[in-house]
């Protein structure tokens, strides 16, 4: 595969894209010109304003086609690569048993005022998602699903009481960045309440960007289309990393 690619309309390298948007200007040639200007600024050149339609007196909706000049540099693409193997439920169970010699406790919730439980249920409930069984199905996992609209203090309390190894929170509503605010608040609360000993924090939801984990103060972020198996495999990986880290710390302390 080539390193640099461009969008493909019907010919390699033609750079063709489609875009649509609304501008707060009354319809007319001036508005079309404004749309053209915006498209140009987006790097679309030549840009064809192929449709414009008034929305009330003050807005105009546009559809624009054209060739975008930018190149995509595939070497520069940043994605969260799965740095761990995908394990089957049996493999997950075996690995956890060996690692912990007890069940791993997972607490899940949909926090803030968000009431969309279908996503977190897809990960946790036996029924699962995309043909994969959810975490409840795993013998070596104890799953506590707190449901929807759980406040952050309540979550921290339940996680602490339940000796959670991992906390999984879901956020589906994103208007006004609700998902980011809530996740940050949650991470801060755990830091505050438990410091170093806080459980593994995992956030998920369809509009999350997995690259944001560090920024949000959580260990991992899962986006749209996540499957339970991915999450379970990650848990094994993360617990393993923690164990290595903890035993290293332990060793250092012992030596001190």
């Amino acid at each position: 595969m080539k390193r640099h690619v461009r969008p493909y309309g019907d010919t390699t390298g033609d750079g063709m894209v489609q875009t649509s948007f609304t501008l707060p200007v009354p319809a007319g040639p001036q508005a079309d010109g404004a749309a053209q200007q915006l498209a140009n600024k987006m790097g679309i050149d030549p840009a064809m304003v192929v449709h414009s339609h008034p929305i009330g007196d003050d807005f105009t909706f546009f559809v624009v086609y054209g060739s975008v000049r930018h190149l995509v540099d595939l070497d520069e693409v940043r994605v969260v690569q799965r740095e761990y193997p995908l394990l089957s439920p049996t493999e997950v169970n075996t690995a956890l048993k060996k690692l912990l010699r007890r069940k791993l406790v997972v607490v899940g919730a949909c926090i803030g005022t968000d009431a969309h439980t279908v996503g977190i249920d897809a990960i946790l409930n036996i029924k699962g998602f995309a043909g994969e069984k959810g975490l409840e199905y795993y013998r070596e996992l104890t799953v506590v699903n707190l449901g929807a609209q759980v406040s952050v203090p309540e979550l921290v309390r339940r996680a602490r009481d339940g000796k959670a190894d991992a906390v999984l929170v879901s956020q589906v509503v994103t208007q006004r960045d609700a998902h980011l605010l809530n996740t940050r608040e949650m991470a801060a609360a755990f830091r505050e309440a438990m410091g170093e000993r806080r459980p593994l924090l995992i956030a998920g939801g369809p509009r999350f960007d997995p690259l944001m984990a560090a920024e949000l103060g959580v260990d991992r972020v899962f986006g749209r289309g996540t499957t339970p198996g991915e999450v379970a495999s990650y848990l094994v990986h993360a617990m393993h990393t923690r164990a290595v880290h903890t035993s290293a710390v332990q060793t250092r302390k012992d030596n001190a």
């Binding site: 807005f59 439980t117 749209r224």
Partner: protein, 521 residues
């Protein structure tokens, strides 16, 4: 014209079973009151405003009063007796004065006896009657405006949501939507409001994925729509949510501000907001009595079940819920023409013959409830980021609505899986509806499900399954059925859920002029 050839005795059986399943719950609802019902009563009696000096933010006066009454002498006799007794005792002019005094710790509420009791009761009845008169006036005003400006020229009516979180932006969007053809505007609520045990005050600008339902927001939007109604030459209706912990209060506010439709389901709060079942059924009964008085069309929420359960497997639960909602509504005094029973186009589009199955389900609802203004909800669950396919699916939803004679069409948005609707999404969605209504408006004339075909068979099957399920519910009890996850796969035990502590068993001397006046009709 009946296309499904439903057996009238099966239909009658279904209704009878629904009535029997509902009976114990109605009895429960009659035997209890809730903090919300009491607050609603006081709102009818004229209390307004909020305590803005309180450290927890604005607390509506009505909450302060009801909470204090409960503290002092309990709510089992209703809030009005202690309140109007105190008003008299302290010689205060208004309920707001009383609330201020309450906040200042100057009032000690007691249950009046004898003549005091009668006096308090009378004063309360007078106050509540005044509130109801406002409701009646609004209803008459609506009738007048409809007579003057007219109803939408076509069925289904076109129902559009706005959801910016800011009442001022909502107004912009609602106006444009009305101009572009919307017949009904629903202002979506902020997430979380349903779990607030009070109704916020004033105009609000910072909701999440919706705007707070407040009396002032109601007023602003109704005024804006009155204006645009004149402009477009038809009466544009306004919808909000009588749902959540403040269901009865919001119903009252809707009546006071001439809202025209309200989302109001007998089980939605239980299932989707984990609100205590008893609380919900009590609140629901009162709120429906208010809606009946106000001439407000309720919209039930069966569509929601299909977002958590599968639309084919759970089709009969929609029917069962519609029958229950119908019974609860009738019992509360709502006539058929105010029953916007809900259902939805939520079958996975990958299922073979999915469109025909949708037609079967939609037609079943139509023929079971011929006089109800059914509300037909668009695809949401199987919408994806592929907005082109989403636009197509919405088109077929619109077509199903036209073919099966739905009454109210909630317009689907191509960005359903992406964001709360953009201005342009709404405009495009209306263009979609317009195309379908204009191009295929009369196609129902040519739609004749084959007598032994897939559609007819499927409808009969769903009705059969609904009757079976109702039979089981009659045996086990509705509350247990809800606890078992019958609806939307959500399991909600009768003693769980939020707001349970706001439920109060009525004492023998319970008095509530609002209930009495509403019940009397």
């Amino acid at each position: 014209m009946a296309l499904l050839d439903l057996d009238p005795t099966v239909v009658a059986t279904a209704r009878e079973l629904a009535a029997r399943a509902a009976e114990p719950v109605v009895a429960l609802a009659k035997a209890h009151t809730t903090v919300a019902v009491e607050r609603a009563t006081l709102r009818l009696a004229g209390i307004t405003g909020a305590d803005s000096t309180h450290r927890a933010g604005d607390v509506p006066w009505v909450n302060r009063v009801v909470d204090t009454v409960r503290d002092h002498c309990g709510l089992e006799h209703g809030v009005v007796l202690p309140v109007f007794h105190a008003l008299k005792q302290h010689d205060l002019a208004t309920l707001t004065d009383l609330a201020e005094a309450t906040a200042a710790g100057q009032i000690r509420y007691t249950l009046p006896e004898g003549r005091d009791r009668e006096r308090a009761r009378k004063a309360a009845t007078t106050a509540v009657t005044k509130g109801l008169r406002t409701v009646d006036r609004n209803r008459a005003q609506r009738d007048r405006l409809v007579a003057r400006l007219g109803d939408p020229p076509q069925r289904p009516w076109i129902y559009l949501i706005v959801a910016t979180g800011d009442i001022d932006e909502d107004v912009v969007q609602a106006r444009n939507a009305a101009r572009a053809g919307a017949d009904v505007i629903a202002v979506i609520r902020s997430t979380g409001q349903s779990l607030l045990d009070y109704v916020p005050e004033g105009a609000t600008h910072h909701g999440f994925a919706g705007t707070y339902a407040t009396q002032e927001n109601f007023r602003i939007m109704r005024a804006a729509l009155d204006e645009v109604s004149k402009e477009v030459g038809r009466y544009v209706r306004l919808t909000n949510y009588a749902s959540g912990l403040c269901m009865p209060e919001i119903a009252v506010l809707a009546g006071l501000q001439r809202l025209d439709m309200m989302l109001n389901d007998s089980m939605y709060g239980i299932l989707f907001r984990d609100i205590n079942p008893i609380r919900t059924f009590v609140d629901q009964r009162f709120s429906r009595q208010v809606h009946a008085r106000a001439g407000i069309v309720i919209n039930t929420g069966e569509d929601n079940y299909l977002t958590t359960a599968d639309a084919v497997d759970a089709a009969h639960t929609v029917t069962v819920s519609q029958l229950l909602n119908e019974h609860f509504a009738h019992e509360a005094g709502l006539p058929d023409h105010l029953l916007g029973l809900g259902h939805a186009f939520e079958i996975n589009p990958k299922v073979p013959e999915s469109f025909r199955l949708e037609l079967a389900h939609a037609l079943l609802a139509r023929e079971l409830f011929p006089d109800a203004p059914l509300k037909w909800m668009p695809p949401t669950k199987h919408m994806t980021g592929d907005v082109f396919n989403g636009y197509l699916l919405d088109g077929f939803f619109n077509l199903a609505g036209v073919l099966t004679g739905q009454s109210i069409l909630l317009v689907g948005m191509m960005t359903e899986a992406v964001v709360t609707p953009f201005l342009s999404d709404r405009d495009l969605a209306l263009a979609n509806v317009r195309y379908v209504l204009n191009a295929a408006g009369g196609l129902a004339e040519d739609f004749r499900p084959a007598p032994d075909g897939l559609i007819v068979k499927r409808a009969h099957q769903v009705l059969g399954e609904a009757v079976d399920l109702l039979g089981r519910i009659v045996e086990d009890g509705l509350l247990d059925a809800i606890a078992d996850g019958t609806f939307g796969l959500m399991k909600r035990p009768a003693d769980g859920g939020r707001g349970a502590d706001g439920v109060v068993e009525k004492a023998d001397g319970y008095a509530n002029p609002a209930s009495e006046l509403l019940e009397a009709r």
